[in-house]
Amino acid sequence: MAAKPGAASTTYSPIDPTNKTRPSIFTGSDVDWLRPDSRAFQQCRPAFFRTGAVNSAAGSAYAEFGNTKVIVSVFGPRESKKAMMYSDIGRLNCNVSYTTFAAPVRGQGSDHKEFSSMLHKALEGVIIVETFPKTTVDVFALVLESGGSDLPVVVSCASLALADAGIMMYDLVASVSVSCLGKNLLIDPVLEEESYQDGSLMIACMPSRYEVTQLTVTGEWSTSKFNEAMQLCLDASAKLGEIMRSCLKEAASATQE
């Protein structure tokens, strides 16, 4: 799958809003944090997307951000279960699961059971549910390898899969997360950075309409740091949105011929 990169597998690093060199403070140590893959703090991993990965699903997408590999299949709109009540708008059903070999230590899929409902919250505001009454759209996300920043990659990949399935949406959803390590803000953290983080901020937003569908904050944040982190995320999401659009267009043009 990694043989041929997608249309624009370039980084989508945002513009550094502060524009001044950071004081090298990292709690308890004189050494500034060095990113394992030698990226800059404001630099994101190169993004690779491919749609149409799963033939049997209505729509599907595969995303690879460094070591984080995710595949999402979308089924639907299909008949809701008989037990469900009548609904004159469509329903969305999300499921995120990890393979046993996704984490560095092999075992039962990581305890990220809340990712399913978080993915649901990120996507429910984007789908135009009035267009498929009485039916259900099922989104199944499988994390093949967890290399950090898993949920943002899942959300972006899921919105591509939904677009590939032909489900009507208000816009694509691009999602980026930022980790706070001491005084540093690291965008698109890897697993190691996430384990050291003091706080994290994840934003899922619609790049073209500039609206946020989901905002998740953990840890302690000062107001200025928070504003800076949000700006970073929104900027990066806009650029990620461009990459996603070009991937969709390329795939659609390929099927046209």
């Binding site: 677009a163 009507m168 949406m169 208000y170």
Partner: protein
Amino acid sequence: MRQEEMVTPGEVLGKATEVKAGKGTYVAKHNGFVYASLTGLLRTVSPPPESPDQRPTVEVTGHKAHGAVPEPGSVVIARITKVMARMASADIMCVGPKSVREKFTGTIRQQDVRATEIDKVDMHLSFRPGDIVRALVLSLGDARAYFLSTAKNELGVVSAESAAGGTMVPISWMEMQCPLTGQIEQRKVAKNES
């Protein structure tokens, strides 16, 4: 019609004051722009010259045969699964010319089988399990099934198997004959457009 270009969900297609939102697009209320809601080819359709609203219509046609969903007013092909005293259950397999990825459940009620003498309809003389029927979707129905109707000449049983196992030939709007045994069985037969 103008040149076609590929658009993705969320791309701005124009202002609501200048273009009308067709299929695959929507109007955002807060800023009055028309956005695409599907991935596909963008087409601009000029309005008919005598209409009062002279805005061209923009529409996006999905590049995929987006597995169809039955909608009220669409003609579907279904297979009868169960016949009861007052209704028949059917599995919808095709919507218009497209087949569905996973079947939907439909119901044909006694009063929707034909247009005349609807209270004297005998369901077992109209359908048998396994028949392929062409029906019209009346409405979304209830939680369990769509409501279908065969109350038109061109709607009804399109293909059926006789008790002996041969594919039957329609004789009239009420009867079909088995080519193997010559037996006549009663069905609500669809009229072919010929």
